[in-house]
């Protein structure tokens, strides 16, 4: 069920009510209730895929238990590879099989060899890319002896399937989330209230920003040949807002919802479009995925150590795989490689940690060079987003080429005044709140309750009466 649906609006209070009023006294029962609710939530999409998540959870639970009692390094490796094989295997079959089949067929046809592989045409289970990575991080951390395996199957299954973050992240680390299932949870009014604020802001980002941008973006990308260069540029820029609003909005709703139940999920976005270089952008965008790849792919490959060739290889591999994680299309790989190209000079020159603080920290207005830096970084990400959004690499290249035509200086088509005002409001709020945990993190001492409530009602008004047509969350397709 979608977060912005009546189904979820009915589901959440029921789960919340029973969680805190009926099952609070017994931790095991409380976890069991969360597990049941999470499986119900996931089964609402398609009950057939419950078996996949249950199987994946079962394998990883027993692999981790076995790792605890096995010291033989060969056996430990085999256990680890069992977990990796099952989880990556699921991804490979459901997500990538047809892509590889088609790619092989195209490659063979280049040599004039007819090759017609069978296609599976399987429906992609929602969230598979997220929960497989989440359980993989668990078995890898147990293998590395970073954490002890769970002896509580209910807690573990609930950790894997925890409904707020099940279908689109954040991809939680077991070291952070699993202990929270093992410890008693008390209701924290401040956390819950702030969680509601975060949910509200997430809904605003998704419905008022992302869905409105989507209407314009879909029109432009559907027929780019008939749009001017300026319209194409605006389309690419608004796609950047669309995907940010969509994905970070979902993350905000997930994190806010988890806080209602006494859980703290990791931050997934830290105002990435205020980044001053591409390295900072990747420290602020989809943090759970980028840190996952850093810890489980980049560092094991050697990271930024070793000869130059190896460093370059590691960066290229990580970004290519990261792109590929997003979807079975060469465009996602191209998107990843383009980002690798952007970040490589910074890493090789050891300038990728220049910006560790927040831009214009403690000030309202940025300096001019900060503005240029942010604008340039935004431009680079926008360039890469064209590949992410396009159906093919050819379409992306044609799109970009069509931007840099004389029509770039013509007046573009626009999504309208209302959307423009929403975007200005959105960027303004995010800018003013960029040093906070989330954009609607309000000081209850500095801002009186009536003023806060007026802002909340204003956001509800904007969501309800100026939201775009309902679009699926983009990251559900990953």
């Amino acid at each position: 069920m979608l977060f912005n649906s009546i189904d979820f609006a009915v589901f959440l209070p029921i789960v919340f009510g029973l969680y805190w009023f009926v099952f609070q006294r017994n931790l095991k029962v409380q976890n069991a209730w969360l597990l049941l609710a999470s499986y119900f939530f996931y089964g609402w999409w398609d009950w057939r895929f419950l078996s996949l998540i249950a199987f994946s959870s079962t394998i990883d639970f027993f692999v981790a238990r076995k790792l605890e009692t096995t010291e033989h390094s060969g056996k430990r490796k085999r256990l680890l590879w069992t977990s990796i094989g099952v989880n990556i295997g699921f991804l490979g079959v459901f997500k990538y099989f047809d892509f590889f089949a088609e790619s092989f067929a195209e490659a063979f046809s280049l040599f004039g060899i007819p090759f017609e592989p069978g296609r599976l045409n399987l429906i992609l289970p929602v969230g598979i890319s997220f929960y497989t990575f989440q359980t993989l991080s668990y078995t890898i951390d147990v293998y590395r002896k970073k954490m002890a395996p769970s002896h509580d199957p209910i807690a573990f299954f609930a950790f894997v399937s925890f409904f707020p973050q099940l279908v689109a992240g954040p991809i939680e680390r077991a070291t952070n989330l699993l202990p929270q299932f093992s410890g008693k949870r008390s209701f924290d009014q401040q956390a819950a209230t702030d969680g509601l604020r975060q949910i509200l802001w997430g809904l605003f980002k998704k419905i008022a920003i992302a869905d409105n941008c989507a209407e314009f973006v879909n029109g432009v990308f559907a027929d780019p040949s008939s749009a001017s260069g300026s319209t194409l540029l605006l389309g690419a820029i608004l796609f950047g807002f669309q995907i940010y609003g969509d994905f970070s909005g979902y993350s905000d709703i997930a994190i806010g919802t988890a806080r209602l139940f006494g859980f703290n999920l990791m931050k997934n976005f830290a105002f990435p479009y205020f980044s001053r270089d591409i390295a900072e952008f990747w420290r602020r965008w989809h943090i759970s995925l980028s840190t996952w790849f850093r810890d489980y792919v980049y560092i094991p490959l050697g990271g930024s150590r070793g000869p130059l060739f190896q460093q370059i290889r590691n960066i290229v591999v990580v970004f290519a795989v990261s792109g590929f994680w997003h979807g079975a299309n060469w465009t996602f790989i191209a998107w990843g490689l383009l980002n690798a190209l952007f970040i490589l000079p910074l890493i090789l020159r050891r300038k990728h940690r220049t910006y560790r603080d927040t831009v214009a920290s403690g000030r309202v207005f940025p300096r001019m060079r900060e503005v240029w830096a942010m604008a340039f970084t935004f431009l680079l990400t926008t360039l890469a987003w064209v590949f992410f959004r396009s159906e093919s690499i050819g379409q992306a290249i044609t799109y970009l080429y069509s931007i840099v035509q004389p029509s770039l200086f013509s007046v573009p088509s626009t999504p309208g005044k209302v959307v423009a005002m929403l975007l200005v409001f959105f960027v303004g709020v995010e800018w003013l709140q960029r040093e906070k945990e989330h954009a609607l993190c309000l000081s209850t001492t500095k801002i009186p309750r009536p003023a806060r409530w007026i802002l909340y009602y204003a956001l509800v008004y904007l969501i309800v009466y100026h939201g775009g047509s309902q679009e699926a969350f983009i990251y559900f397709q990953f």
Binding site: I6, W20, Y457, Y465, G467
Partner: protein
Amino acid sequence: MKHFLIRFGIFLFLLFLAFCLVDFLKLSHRILPNRDVYTVIERSKATRDKTKVLILGDSIARQLFDPLDQSGENGVTNLASNQSIDIIGNYFLLHNFLERNHSVERVYLIVNCTSFQNNLDHLFTYNYFLKPFYNSEYKPLFTPAAMEQIKSIPFHRFVSFPPIHATFFTPELNKHKSKSKFLSKISIEYLEAMETVLEERGIQFKVISPPVSQAGFEDAQIYKSVYESTRRLPHHFDQYFESMIFLPASWYPDGAHFTNEKIKEARRILIDQLDDEILSAAIAE
């Protein structure tokens, strides 16, 4: 927990009151995307006793004929709004108008082929049809088939509930989509109802297609062959496909509606084909 629930409860209650007020004052009728439907409903209840030609239809018809609507003073009233009100919604508008106006001589129902497939199972049925029309005023006009279809729509009972009625909330209808072929059961019922009520009053009735993009030529032939294999409503449809006009695809940025530059020309082409003196006079003005 108690304080949290109390405060949140007060917040929600005040929000509920706000929705009730918006619904009572009909403010949402001016803001939400389905406002065009409320506009034509209001128009259908107006007294326009100079009206001789009444236009019903979808958003393409609205695009073409709204500029001709001069409150009926030029003999033309346009009640075309949106495909999502289905043929049944057009019947209700016709019913409203004929109750108050007795000078109508001709009615044109101008709809795209796809309108006839709708069986109150469209993605926008909840907002464009149920919210404006599913109330005590129109319930006597629902056929058993229409009521049965409505009852299969999730949350249909709550459509008048202020937080739903005053917003653009809609349940997911994809799972409930019926598989209607061209000419759904409800479309047939209400086309026949239109024919009956207009025949009783001696009013001429024509069902025509708006000018269609050349790119849609093949789709139109498919619909035509489906229709010919079922042969329902020959009275209305013999001319529907034969008189279909195809215009260059470049005139249609979204495949269905016209560019601003081509609306006038498309309207003139359609009216020339209809050979209707009142419509011709209206565009001459």
